[in-house]
């Protein structure tokens, strides 16, 4: 199955920058489908990023976050090879998670 979360994490000068692209429809509930009916809301509510298991960012998202959400943030520390964990839960209770190494 193709990746659902793509992460690009690099470290430089003691700061690690994480970029992630997360596959998710992020349906707001305001858009009509081809059948003329409203597509029900379906969006990520909570997303978490960890570094070596420690929380480095918690995001609260909603219907106003674009489809296939992108995020970039940075934190102090991190070394090449360290694991960055990404996980999310959406309004339907669906979840996904993965781990990627800092380049």
């Amino acid at each position: 199955m193709a990746h659902q979360i793509l992460v690009h994490a690099t470290t430089s000068g003691g700061v690690t920058t994480v970029e992630a692209l997360i596959k998710h429809p992020m349906d707001s509930g305001f858009v009509k489908g081809k059948d003329g009916k409203l597509i029900p809301p379906h969006y990520i509510e909570v997303v978490e990023f960890t570094h070596k298991g420690k929380l480095v960012l918690r995001g609260f998202w909603g219907p106003a976050v674009s489809k296939n959400p992108f995020i970039r943030f940075s934190f102090k520390g991190g070394a090449s090879g360290d694991p960055i964990g990404v996980s999310w839960v959406d309004n339907k209770g669906e979840t996904a998670s993965m781990s990627a190494a800092i380049m």
């Binding site: 193709a2 659902q4 970029e19 692209l21 489809k67 296939n68 992108f70 970039r72």
Partner: protein
Amino acid sequence: MRAGVNRAGARMAWGEDKTMKRVWLMIAAFAALGLARPAKADPAADLKAFQRYFQTRFPKLELKDYVNGPYNFSANDRAQWKQILEFPPYSFAVDAGKKAFDTKFPDGASYASCFPHGGIGIAQDYPKFDEKTGKVVTIGIAVNECRTRHGLKALSLTKGELADIVAYMTSTSDGKPIHVVIPNDKRALAAYEAGKEYFYSRRGQLNFSCASCHVQAAGKRLRGQYLAPALGITASFPVYRSKWGNVGTLVRRFIGCNKKVRSVPAKPDSAAYRDLAYFLTYMSNGLPIAGPGARS
């Protein structure tokens, strides 16, 4: 009998003089042939003229800049586009496309076995003219032909798995100069000319041709949106459109454009679109592949 003179020796009126009438008719016929016969297709000359037209019109743009489409004309839009490209929205499509491309067919063959160079770094050569069938083949059609040759069903030419596969294949040609070949074959030249005619013909309720927006109004706005010049316009396909929320092929865009001018679109694998793609991509020969791309 002497020309122009009847048996009685009197000068004849034109209508009476059958010989002169025949001569004049023959002259008229040859003249008509000369006027009605189209000049021989000269794609190379057309290409020079096409690129020169835009370069004269936009002297500050280098040829390769044209692949940026509308983003050469608005700093506001260009900045947003650049930011979105920092983590391209077509990343999932390329990822999925590579997986699909690398997956073997039930009979053990693969996409790689259908294409030159294993399908890597060849997108810039499409569309191609297929001498066996006498038709233009786009990269998407080539993917489907590969599938059907190996017992698989053809995929939608506009989006989905095929678009992902084409996105992946195109990504392996990033930066390579577009190199569409039009062989000295009557059928290839006819396809080229048909595509060219399509491009310049008005259609639909709004009565626009492709040229109306992408030549005459290139660099100008249609409501809030800048119009990309036709030169370079195919280079970024397949394209992730924010509007679509996924990746679509050139033919998907042809269909969309047709609908927008309220013209009934043709079928995705129609000769009309194959030939249009042939002409339009050829006009960008020499420009670098910039696909897959991102647009609004």
